[in-house]
Symmetry: C2
Subunit: 184 residues, 2 copies
DNA sequence: ACAGGCATGTAAATAGTTACATGATTCG
DNA sequence: CGAATCATGTAACTATTTACATGCCTGT
């Protein structure tokens, strides 16, 4: 059975401990959203499909009158998750709209093309800062023995900083034709 | 009027010179596909919509019996493209399935988690090589005065190399607990 | 009382992929 | 002749976002 990457996000989240749909969404927004987001419109229908396929099991966890269902992973679900984790990644595409704009920046006058790079740089620095704020909070709690979430978060920070730096270098290259001639 | 990013890809491609749908697809596959891909199922319907909106104009360019339409950008189309190019980027998400697997790698025994990083590294080195092959070809022809396509391509190569290096560093960190303790 | 967070869900729209169908032309 | 490439397109499916509807519970 073919599962979407979003299905594996859900499976991975409930594999740690049982979660409600609402909690999964909150977790995704705090953790994987910078490289894989998910909306309620995906999470709830997907939870139902996973339950029908026997990969998760819904458990009533109502609090008083407020109805609530948490989902736990089944043995089959864990097997499916581990199988997926063992397959090599094959992502080719990054989906970076900034690079798209830069690719076509020749359609603008040169000063404005430089502004594109500057905007990309500012944006990436902003994201790096946002992620750093999350890191600070993440360090305080909830990392009993699993180094990977923090590793990925730090990778995200480093990536955004690297990208911002690249934008800065490209900006200088555009503004300094001598250096450009030398390096090409 | 709101246009999708894919619509701007098409607009940007025909802004250089008039292209048929088939040529646009071939161009995208040679250039933007590592950060923004497009399929025939998007390109042909989108060309029709853009023509209806007056942003491109179809011109019959049949060769003998073989029907063929090339699209050229209109003044309105150029204005829409430039307006979009001037807006700051806002991409937050990267969609990297490898990072997703790494995030959940704690569900596997430690040796296999290391294998995830190794697979990511190999994959990124492979993509860097593919892009380098394209770069070699791109250098030969077709870059009259527009530095941006090559800049973006080189950025893609650098990114994949940076990412591969990061994977290598993370792998060593996992294999060397002393260093890990020091850095956290 | 009311704001804010908890909780579940759906409808509609948009976006994007895959697979197929059709047929011409070119090159070996 | 057959394969590859040129060329256009659609149907069906899958993925994803956005906006909305509903209602409970907690703290001020």
């Amino acid at each position: 059975m073919e599962l979407s990457a979003t299905a594996y996000v859900i499976l991975g989240m409930v594999a740690r401990e049982p979660q409600s749909g609402y909690e999964i969404k909150a977790l995704v927004d705090k953790t994987t959203r910078f490289f894989w987001a998910a909306s309620y419109g995906q999470i709830y229908p997907e939870l139902r499909r996973l339950a029908e396929a026997g990969l998760v099991r819904g458990i009533d966890a109502s609090r008083g009158e407020r109805k609530r269902t948490v989902y736990e992973i089944t043995a089959d679900g864990r097997a499916a998750l581990e199988k997926w984790l063992r397959e090599p990644p094959r992502t080719y595409e990054l989906r970076e709209e900034g690079l798209l704009k830069l690719f076509f920046a020749g359609a603008l006058p040169p000063e404005e093309a430089v502004a594109t790079l500057r905007a990309m740089r500012d944006h990436r620095l902003g994201v790096a800062e946002e992620l750093s704020a999350i890191e600070a909070k993440a360090l305080i709690k909830d990392l009993r023995g699993d180094p990977f979430p923090l590793m990925v978060l730090r990778g995200g920070i480093e990536f955004n900083e690297w990208f911002a730096d690249w934008c800065g270098r490209m900006e200088r290259q555009l503004l300094d034709p001598v250096r450009e001639r030398r390096s090409s």
